[in-house]
Symmetry: C2
Subunit: 353 residues, 2 copies
């Protein structure tokens, strides 16, 4: 869930935030450019939600509902509901706001657990208001997300997002329990990222397709696309933690190693290290030894870890493509969703130094 | 929200836990005795919810959905939906489970903020699993509560409980922000307890009356009764913090003074202290001076604080009664709800040493 700022899924070479900033020239590459009116409508709806919060906590909620996010999950809702007219429907904007609010709520709680002080250039809620208030503020954001979901005529949206949220939390719990442990398998890793990240990608696609009235087979395919894309995105995010450029992603590198979190780059490194070095890395993961980040980064570069992880992302994106194409090539959402997969792929390549 | 164990709203002189323990003789005094089948059905439904949690977190969820709670909010759902047949309807049991799960989720998060190790004789989630997991577990419980709420045919239950939850969180946030501050007024205190406690009492009554198909005027009256009862209950809970018997309530006394939380007993004490002593108490609330609990307790006894707070509870319960009686004396829920108010009143009197 820990998205990498800034706009990781915006087209490369685009000024950070340009997709949504009103004062920046509107130079859009690729599918994201189509979303300008949708994302503007989303911003208006998110801002309007502040009225629902009690006056005492409205300012705190406002600090969380910032306008600098990448809005990846809303984009999935919009693209999955795309039709030939490309109109902005109130229902999809509402669904996009629901998933974004849930995402923002999870970020507030994530930052507490990570002790993070800064997100997207601003103080985190836990830093600004204290961890106790941040726990409650996350709860309030989540409660309001579900409340917004009840504005649909049926229970379906609320049922889908509440179930997804429980799964996201389950994934985060498993990850938390495994932190600092070397007894984590690749299959555990996949299970964790399926739950903590891919689930909300999946439900975003599901809601878009459902609200567009798509037939069940396409709703299912789009949902599975979202799940694969979410897994690929999380692997990318874990790669950024080692191969990102600090000044660009706005956070410290190597935090996963330092906090004892086994991610795919570390699995790939382990598998390539000689036994004695592997034992030493184990000590670093388990916190018995100080983490030697620069050594591990050098080894990752020397041992082809980047390529191995890039390949894993590529395989996941291929699975994502396969559920949509060629079977559903003619549906309006398909090319847009596929372009997101391409965009992610190019983002991964851009990390190569 | 911090309920005082054991069964504070069970009839006096009843063995702790007897209302729901299966192996204890079923000697019920008053209205609670009518609820035996309802509470048994509630237990079954709560236990059945465990299946919905991911296997990795099921045991953790089970530890939170214990069977030793007082089930006050479920009782309010059941009584507010009472009709002449007193049958156990699946809808009211489900609504009762929803409000209880939300209550349990808030307790999990409360215990993190209070650093509480023990609740109802068991290790708290934050103690057992760590605070990070407890944040997420509370989230998962809350998400599941809302998911269960989507099993009703319409969005109404989900809308009501998600709004209530946001209000409960807002109340807790305000309380957290005011902790250690002397700049809190009686009106702030009332606002806090309206949100953090009375709101869930209110919505429990609302749901019961709505599910029973009561006319709007009665739904409204029952809801307002619940709100007044919740305020009275929180004042009682705050009184227990000073006047409870440690061996009986199973927790340390004076925690509100020690943590700098201004509650009604402290307001009543302040108003009765000479200026110099008031200044000293201010230092204790603000954490500049060590809290002198035994002195403050003695002063409370000498200066009639107990009677003053008892009177405030009595006034709130009188307001509760007035919205139901005599206008709605003939409705089946009315005498049951009024008996709960009487029960609370007798619990308060029983605290007098």
């Amino acid at each position: 869930m820990s998205d990498t700022p800034p706009a990781a899924m915006t087209p490369p070479n685009l000024p950070s935030g340009a997709v949504r900033a009103q004062s920046v020239p509107r130079v859009f590459a690729g599918a994201f450019g189509l979303l300008e009116p949708h994302l503007a409508a989303l911003d208006r709806l998110l801002q309007a939600q502040l009225e629902a919060f009690e006056p005492e906590i409205r300012g705190m909620a406002e600090a969380c509902i910032d306008t600098s996010g990448k809005r990846i999950r809303p984009a999935l809702v919009f693209f999955s509901s795309w039709n030939s007219t490309a109109s902005v429907s109130p229902e999809t904007v509402r669904a996009a706001a629901v998933v974004e609010l849930i995402h923002l709520a999870t970020l507030v709680h994530d930052d507490i657990m990570d002790g993070a002080d800064v997100r997207r250039g601003h103080a985190t809620a836990t830093r600004a208001f204290g961890s106790a208030s941040a726990v409650l503020l996350g709860d309030a954001l989540f409660a309001h997300a579900l409340n917004l979901a009840t504005q649909f005529p049926t229970n379906e949206v609320c049922a889908a997002v509440s179930e997804s949220t429980r799964r996201v939390c389950a994934g985060e719990i498993v990850q938390t329990l495994r932190r600092g442990s070397f007894e984590v398998t690749r299959s555990d890793y996949r299970r964790i990222i399926e739950l903590k990240t891919a689930e909300l990608f999946r439900v975003s696609c599901f809601l878009g397709a459902r609200l567009a009235g798509s037939e069940p087979a396409y709703v299912d395919a789009v949902s599975r696309f979202g799940e694969h894309l979410g897994i690929a995105y999380q692997i990318y995010d874990d790669l950024v933690d080692f191969f990102g450029k600090e000044d660009r992603i706005g956070k410290t590198l190597g935090t996963d190693l330092l906090s004892g979190k086994l991610t795919l780059p570390l699995f790939a490194l382990m598998e390539r290290l000689p036994p004695s070095e592997k034992e030493a890395l184990k000590g670093e993961i388990e916190g018995r030894e100080p983490a030697r980040l620069s050594l591990r980064l050098r080894q990752m570069n020397e041992l082809g870890v980047f390529s191995a992880v890039e390949e894993a992302v590529g395989a996941e994106l291929a699975s994502a493509r396969a559920v949509l194409s060629p079977a559903f090539d003619l549906r309006p959402p398909t090319p847009l969703l596929l372009s997101l997969a391409e965009l992610l792929k190019s983002q991964v390549s851009a990390l190569r130094r």
